[in-house]
Amino acid sequence: MEKKVFSRNEGLTDIKMRYCPGCGHGIVHRMIGDVLVELGIRKRTIGIAPVGCSVFADEYFNCDMIQPAHGRGPAVATGMKRVKPDCIVFSYQGDGDLASIGMAETIHSAARGENITIIFINNAIFGMTGGQMAPTTLIGQKSTTSPAGRDVKLAGYPIRVCELLSALNGPAYLVRTSLHNSANVVKTKKAIKRAFQIQMEGKGFSLVEILSQCPTNWGMTTLKSIEYIAENMVPYYPLGEFRTPEDKKAKAEAETLKG
């Protein structure tokens, strides 16, 4: 008699996902769905789909969903969380959405320490619009708006979001993970779960940055693309925790002494 050890669950709707073959979005979607189920919060969770390939996320996550303007997820999450403090609010965003047009909303929601969770898919490219340069596109990486490769002199340096946000007191949890192999996929799931738990405990702003592949716009096979993550992205975007609720508490106390 067989025992089912893994199968689809009600964390996701059973609509087939429209992402390209091998796209990291699908992997992360599944893990978030699992977490909603495992933590038993699906029915009181509101998800925010970004403007990006994963705008379709509002069809895939099996919880209340909202689809706001490009880059404004954190502002929308702020509005929702303040009105429904008992709901779990997460904003799912790409690098263009979060780090380019949405930079101000990202920084300020983090500085306010809003009790929300952001899942940040860093695939170093604008996927939806056809592979333009993102703030996270690597030095020398080719894109449709940096056909000769990103030139530091013209386009500056890629932005490390976790490092940037860790200069603020607001965040409670900042972590960077990757999808380039099953071990890291498992770690990513753990990080996502922790982020939601931190929100449930009311500890404040949590963000999980996930290095993810965009085979289509990187112009690679899926397998090449996960190699690219391991060999090129991870060195520039080191994996690990940049802030935990424990550090935050410490910092906060320090401040209040000062202030």
């Binding site: 050890v5 091998g22 699908g26 979607h29 999808l179 085979p215 899926t222």
Partner: protein
């Protein structure tokens, strides 16, 4: 669930026991889907399912059957 599979091969490389290969035949959705060529070797570790972007794998202890059905 073969109609979900897009033939990305992530499961193939994820499997520690090379249980999975890609089919040579187009699936109805126009991809070369993953199939189990060595089901007997499958340990049910579910790593393939963990990495599947299209949630098209179900894993059962004893054996994995999802992709065939």
């Amino acid at each position: 669930d073969i109609t979900r599979c897009k033939g990305c091969e992530l499961c193939r490389v994820a499997c520690p026991h090379n249980v999975i290969e890609m089919s040579k035949k187009f699936s109805p959705t126009g991809y070369y889907p993953a199939i189990m060529v060595r089901p007997e070797k499958c340990t049910g570790c579910a790593l393939c399912a963990m990495v599947c972007p299209d949630v098209s794998i179900e894993v059962y202890k004893e054996e994995t059957v999802s992709k065939e059905k």
